[in-house]
């Protein structure tokens, strides 16, 4: 059994890596986009085996525990559905000549490199390895954001690259400081970077040193989460890259950075003398929520608007984990899963919409429910879900968060509700004009596979009505772990 699980863990990493090599070499976009789907499916199956099977013991470099398996399962699932969406999206891009076959080969290879790097960051048991993986994920997405080579795409990629690199550099400095703090307790050498060893000895670390380390880590990985003073790269990167990349950026990459932050939050919590991380995270989360909610009103570009909505939701999630406690952590986890599913579904719809309308300007898009009922109604359902209306999963997690905030910090709860209502208003205002009213823009039928979008939305709707007992027990268990 253990051998099998080790293989599954290896498969989560090796399948994308092998696929990346194959996709870089093989010509022909039809076959390669199918191979991309197949590789993503295999990775997802491997992640599921990890989920149900027995866990291998943590090694020096890799590990699977209760916390990261949720992230692995979620990212491989969205990686798989996005690859299905990507196949139909890409076919259209090739037809219109926006992408050439050479770039497409590069795009597919980079997609798998990114999946590899994200999975590696999640299963790494070594804080140095985790950092390397996040860096590779950043670089591969930078290359994909710039793939259209338009002015705006280049600017977005450059901005993302510079801000992302500075963020990642700060995170490395924080990682080195954690190692320095570990030396007096654990001793020199590789052990002092192994996550499971660090957490076991965290109580003995020098509090002042890990406080400084955490500030660097929060700024560094926080840049990648898109927390507010550090978010500048996020809207551009979402708006100018290919839409499948917007979906994985929102659905996966932000979560991976968040996971890194959570890990170090756990480390801080295990040390009695260290500063409380909650208030820092709450402040940044709330700032992100309020800022993004206000920014939503002035958006004219549809992808950019949903990018701001991602900042808003990452703010909510970071706020939830900042408050802490079983209920808020539960809400944070649930919200993270629901946001990933909903936001990537929205980007799937938006991808097809922008292709058929030939623009991302919201003023040029209208009456979608009449001209393209499937896309239009999916967008409406997606936006209703992301705005937090019942009966969707997002509503449930936001409700849990608000009630636990009222119990603990009533004043902050007012700000939280204010931010949510502001965002709600902005989103409904926009979607009204997009989905209803007179038809604007071309009405050509769209050749798309609706399956990924519908699968995500169904999951979100079902989760709003009924969460299976094992899932609840599972999340409750992890919420307790997060303290």
């Amino acid at each position: 059994m253990i051998a099998w699980d080790l293989d599954a863990l290896a498969a989560v990493l090796l399948v994308p890596l092998a696929a990346a090599a194959a996709l870089a070499l093989l010509p022909g976009y039809r076959a390669t986009s199918r191979l991309n789907v197949l590789a993503s499916l295999l990775t997802f199956v491997a992640a599921l085996t990890l989920l149900v099977g027995e866990r291998p013991a943590p090694g020096a470099y890799l590990m699977i525990d209760d916390l990261n398996i949720v992230f692995v399962a979620l990212s491989t699932f969205i990686g798989f559905t996005t690859s299905v969406f990507s196949a139909s999206y890409i076919a259209h891009e090739i037809e219109t000549g926006r992408l050439t076959p050479g770039y497409l080969r590069f795009y597919h290879a980079m997609y798998q490199v990114m999946m590899f790097a994200m999975n590696l960051a999640l299963v790494a048991n070594n804080i140095g390895l985790m950092w390397v993986a996040v860096e590779i994920a950043t670089l591969s997405t930078v290359l994909m954001v710039g793939i259209y080579r338009s002015h705006a795409a280049l600017e977005a990629a450059w901005k993302y690259f510079i801000l992302g690199s500075v963020g990642i550099a700060l995170a490395l400095f924080g990682t080195i400081l954690v190692y320095m703090a570990a030396i007096p307790v654990i001793g020199e050498g590789p052990d002092a970077m192994v996550w499971t060893v660090l957490i076991a000895h965290a109580a003995g670390f020098d509090p002042a040193l890990i406080n400084v380390a955490f500030v660097f880590l929060l700024l560094g990985y926080g840049t990648k989460v898109g927390l507010v003073p550090l978010h500048a790269w996020l809207p551009d990167a979402h708006a100018e890259g290919p839409t499948p990349i917007s979906a994985v950026l929102s659905g996966l990459l932000l979560n991976v950075a968040l996971y890194a932050l959570l890990r170090f939050k756990l480390l801080m919590a295990a040390n009695p003398g260290a500063l409380a991380t909650g208030p820092l995270m709450m402040a940044m989360g709330l700032a992100s929520l309020l800022f993004a909610a206000l920014m939503l009103y002035r958006r004219r570009d549809i992808k950019r608007m949903f990018a701001y909505s991602s900042i808003e939701h990452m703010g909510i999630i970071v706020f939830a984990f900042g408050i802490g406690g079983p209920l808020a952590n539960f809400a944070g986890l649930l919200h993270m899963v629901m946001h990933s599913l909903t936001k990537s579904a929205i980007f799937f719809a938006v991808g097809h919409i922008t292709q058929v309308k030939g623009t991302q300007r919201m003023a040029d898009i209208g009456g979608l429910t009449e001209s393209h009922p499937w896309l239009g109604w999916s967008l409406v359902v997606g936006v209703v879900a992301i705005a937090g209306l019942p009966p969707t999963g997002v509503f449930m997690s936001e409700f849990l968060l608000i009630s636990s905030t009222f119990a603990r910090e009533p004043l902050l709860a007012i700000l939280l509700v204010l931010g949510l209502l502001l965002a709600f208003g902005a989103l409904l205002l926009r979607v009204g004009a997009l989905a209803f009213g007179e038809i604007r823009g071309p009405v050509a039928p769209v050749k798309a596979s609706y399956l990924p979008m519908l699968a995500h939305l169904t999951l979100v709707l079902v989760a709003g009505v009924y969460l299976p007992a094992p899932v609840v027990a599972w999340f409750r268990h992890i919420a307790a772990l997060l303290g």
Binding site: N126, G128, L129, W131, V132, E135, I136, L139, V142, L143, G146, R149, H151, A152, L154, E155, A156, A157, W158, F161, I162, S165, V166, A169, L170, L172, F173, T175, I176, L177, Y179, M180, I183, P184, E188, G189, P190, A192, M193, D206, A208, L209, N211, V212, P235, D236, A239, E240, R298, R299, R300, D301, R304, R361
Partner: protein
């Protein structure tokens, strides 16, 4: 002997901070690149000294990478690029030299205060190294934000990474995987930058980042 070991390490790390300051006030790209090469040389010496002192042969590899790649290959390649683009005489700082230098001094003071205060128990050599490394990182960032030109920003970023290498080698016994990855990341970063510069050139006939700012999203 101990005293000497400490003093040399101290001098080299301090030298790196000094060269970072020299980078701050360069207003021509070709001069900036030369200073960057010097920066990488000082880093090489510092890393090699650490390798010798701590008897850690793997650090010699890091030193060799810094020497061949950062002190020679990258400056030469970037020099060619700016010559070809005809921007080697460009004067392109955003803020005046005076305020920049003052800000730099404030940053160095800040990193000394922060790092020396939080590491009273650490090995004195590692302590000093860490404080200097943070100063180099912050000065690298300052170099980035005071440049308008893409090449200038890239050089600032590489100076910042040098600071990280200094920190990583200063932390005794830090596993090799990280050091190689640091060097490796610079390699990747350079490839990315190379591609970008190429593309930016192709599109705009300039590498002035201000030209890019015009294309910011919503103002279309």
């Amino acid at each position: 002997m101990d005293r000497l070991v400490f003093d040399v390490a101290h001098m080299l790390a301090g030298g790196l901070v000094l060269v970072s300051f020299v980078m701050l006030y360069q207003d021509r790209l070709s001069a900036l690149l030369k200073v960057y090469a010097l920066h990488a040389l000082v880093l090489t010496a510092s890393v090699a000294w650490q390798a010798f002192v701590h008897d850690a042969p793997h650090l010699y590899i890091t030193a060799a990478i810094a020497l061949t790649f950062k002190a020679v290959a990258i400056p030469i390649a970037l020099h060619r690029i700016i010559r070809r683009l005809g921007i080697h005489r460009e004067i392109e700082t955003v803020v005046g030299i005076g305020p920049t230098m003052l800000a730099g001094m404030a940053l160095v003071a800040l990193s000394m205060v922060v790092m020396l205060r939080v590491t009273p128990e650490a090995d004195p050599l590692a302590r000093e190294d860490l404080a200097f490394a943070l100063a180099v990182v912050l000065l690298g960032m300052l170099t980035m934000v005071t440049r308008r030109n893409a090449v200038g920003q890239v050089v600032g970023f590489m100076a910042l990474e040098n600071g990280l290498v200094l920190a990583a080698t200063g932390a005794k016994g830090m596993p090799l995987v990280v050091e190689i990855s640091v060097a490796f990341s610079i390699l990747i970063a350079f490839i990315v930058i190379g591609i970008f510069l190429f593309r930016i050139r192709e599109r705009f006939d300039t590498v002035d980042v201000q030209a890019l700012d015009r294309f910011r999203g919503d103002r279309r």
